[in-house]
């Protein structure tokens, strides 16, 4: 009995010590990131080795749809713990800018990135992009039936029960919907999603679920992201990736974004980290790992899983897309959440 009490007390003291010990004097930077840990951890460890700055990261999970980290940043606004926010998309970054969570910083490494991917006030910079794609199971669909446009998903030649999409009320699926609202207009975009719903297309919990179902053959075709598709290709699944609407309006390009947090505890280290994230080296590394499929820096890059070509994106500004998020969300909840 005394031994049990002794060890119980020891663990309690250990908890106290681990949590509240004196902080070592060292350079460190705190980053919150929604980029998959399997990719972002590699990049951040590299930064540590190069600079000697200790990186303390908080990773998000897809189950929280980035809301976890965004909520945390907003809740911490008065007393920020984070220095940098690395988002794997842009909508929530723009939202954080509107809520006054971010600070302005013009990184020298953002030179050369097209202006449509930069915030004019310098509150964030975009880098390394992925795209909304359609993933096809090559064993279940004949080549001539491969969809080339999202509108082809309304084609009766493709059975509706074999088509999958994530709930278009979260994440990049919602951003894609908002982009279609911006590019096509509300009426046409709403009509498209209404027809998808009326066809009985299978709606699932997220992009990775669509990927897994198409890869396993439960579905023939699915709307997902290009990085999720790379995951299936790396696992030797019988799939092919289609960048849709290349002859017309293009597809949604989803860049990563890096932003400085207002009142960050380590501003100098934060700026060094942002400069590093925006570098061509990081873009090349992310592309090699399959986290992104497009470089926003000028010049050619190689991707490990998809044949790189100049993917045509929507000709709308990121801010225009964000302006349609609430409207798209309300409409699509009416259609899909019932």
């Amino acid at each position: 009995m005394r031994k049990i009490i002794f060890f119980l007390n020891l663990f309690l003291i250990l908890c106290l010590c681990v949590g509240c010990g004196p902080k070592k004097a060292r350079r460190e930077v705190v980053i919150y990131t929604s980029q998959d840990q399997v990719y972002s951890e590699v990049i951040l460890k590299d930064f540590e080795k190069r600079t000697g700055i200790k990186v303390l990261a908080v990773y998000d999970v897809e189950a929280a749809k980035t809301i976890g980290l965004v909520n945390r940043l907003i809740a911490e606004k008065a007393y920020p713990q984070a220095d940098v926010f690395w988002n794997s998309e842009f909508a929530q970054t723009i939202l954080l800018k509107e809520k006054g969570v971010l600070a302005s910083y013009h990184s020298p490494n953002s030179a050369g990135i097209p202006s449509q991917y930069l915030d004019p006030d310098g509150f964030f910079s975009a880098f390394g992009a992925r795209a909304r794609v359609i993933l096809v199971n090559t064993k279940k669909v004949d080549k001539e039936l491969y969809p080339k446009s999202v509108l082809d998903l309304l084609n009766s030649a493709l059975p509706a029960k074999e088509i999958g999409m994530p709930y278009p009320i979260f994440g990049t699926a919602l951003t894609q919907a908002a982009a279609l609202y911006a590019a096509w207009g509300q009426e046409k975009a709403r009509d498209f999603y209404q027809k998808l719903h009326d066809r009985g297309v299978r709606v699932v919990d997220g992009n990775s679920v669509v990927r897994d179902l198409v890869a396993s053959g439960e579905l023939s075709v699915g709307m997902t992201d290009s990085d999720d598709s790379c995951g299936a290709i790396k696992n030797n699944a019988p799939v092919e990736v289609i960048f849709t609407d290349q002859d017309t309006c293009g597809t949604l390009i989803v860049p990563n974004t890096a932003a400085l947090i207002r009142g960050s505890p380590h501003p100098q280290e934060a700026k060094e980290l942002i400069d590093y994230l925006l570098s061509k080296d990081v873009e090349a590394k992310l592309m090699e790992m399959g986290a992104i499929q497009m470089s926003l820096h000028p010049g050619d890059s190689q991707t490990s899983c998809l044949p790189l070509s100049n993917v045509k994106g929507f000709k709308v500004r990121l801010s225009e897309i964000c302006a349609n998020i609430i409207r798209a969300s309300e409409d699509l909840k009416q259609i899909f959440v019932r």
């Binding site: 009490i5 119980l8 949590g19 303390l56 990261a57 908080v58 809740a75 995951g231 299936a232 309300e330």
Partner: protein, 480 residues
Amino acid sequence: MWFSLLFPFGRKLGLLLNSLGLAFSVSLTGLLIGIFAASFLAKYKKGPGLYLRWLVVMLIPLPPYIHALSWSSIAYKFFGLSLQGAWASWWVQLVSLLPLSVGLSLVGLEAVEQVLIDAGRVVEPDIKVFKRIIIPQALPMIIAAASFLFLFTLMDYTVPSLFSMNVYPLEIFAEFSASTEPLRALALGVPLLLIAFIAIILLQRPLRTAALQLTKKTKTEALALMMSPWFTWFQKIAIGIIIVQIIVPVYSLISSAGSFKNILLSTANAKSEIFYSLVIAFGASLSALLIAWPLAHRLSKVKVSSWWWFSIILPLVIPGSLVGVGLLVLVRALGLVGVYSSLWMPVLANIIRFGSLAVIIILARLKRTDRQLLDAAAVHQRNIFQGWLKVKLPLMVPAVVAAGCIVFILTLGELAATIIVVPPGKSTLTIRIYNYLHYGSSSQVAGLCLVILLAVLTAAAFITAILHRTRGAYDFPAER
């Protein structure tokens, strides 16, 4: 605008009815399976059966998402079935919560006075004894089990959304996702919270009765009940469901892990997450005990009002992310800078979420402790520490160990609050599992889930060993 958020009309009413339907169906079937399975397991009071029966609770910390993916892949791989809709949501939600139902029902059945059963068996067949004596005696704990299943299902959207079933919490999450306005999300959540509050008010009465009822346990051994064939068949079906509920996710995890080498590799890659998960779980369970014990001690001396029970149960139904955000704001407002970015934040979050369970378990034990022993200790002890070490602490060991292990197990699987408050540079096993789930590294996920199961099995075996060693040693009928 706010009126339309607060009151669910039209489409939202349909979603609310979906949530209620799912919650009722899961709790009712969970209740029935719990009763039959627990009545079967209650026979095993010695030997390997005593330990094996607690395998039921093994899968408590396994994320429901893992259950869902396991059943989906097994259904497609072996039967070519694509699980979708209300039936799939009901089944997976049920199997993920079944350990809770069976565990609580088992506790309820074990608390029934043997004297009453023996008296009933003299004049009535065993099946009538079960119906008229055992079930009414165990009913409070059984109702508590069904109520917990109802509440947890009502507040969840992750499993139904995986199977394309739309429920009310999905609407709340979608609103929050698009607007990040907590007040709008809270307004939408009012109908759900009202239903949950009503359920809590109804729940606190059977819980209070269950806690007090545990005072009546005796030490007498008994002959096993001889039940009707149909009853025995239902018991076997219930046990069959329990066995399948364990085998499917464990088989799916083992086959996804691939090899023992992969399990070791994923464990090695996650060693810091394993370390912090264990530190947080131990910290939460020990700290919860330090708070729960004095609180339960105080409550044991007074008549516990309904409002006290209400406030004890309430944290169990508040969404984890709300707990996290609220804790952030509170700690900063109190100026506790040292705590703000330390491991104490996830420890505190889990104490808030699960500490109430520790209070309930310890209070129940205090109610059955013989006051005469404590009075004798107070008279004869040389000093207060001796009285504690020699008498009070050994009397409380079963409840303290059980309460601590339950908080430990639940903390291991917690995600929503942890992700909000975990200090930068530190992460937990559950966060890593969900991250790798998205990436698609199923072998890593499977390996890590198996590590969690091993930790839980160890905790469950530890509880059983401690409870068995101290069983009956100090159990005397308490004063009424």
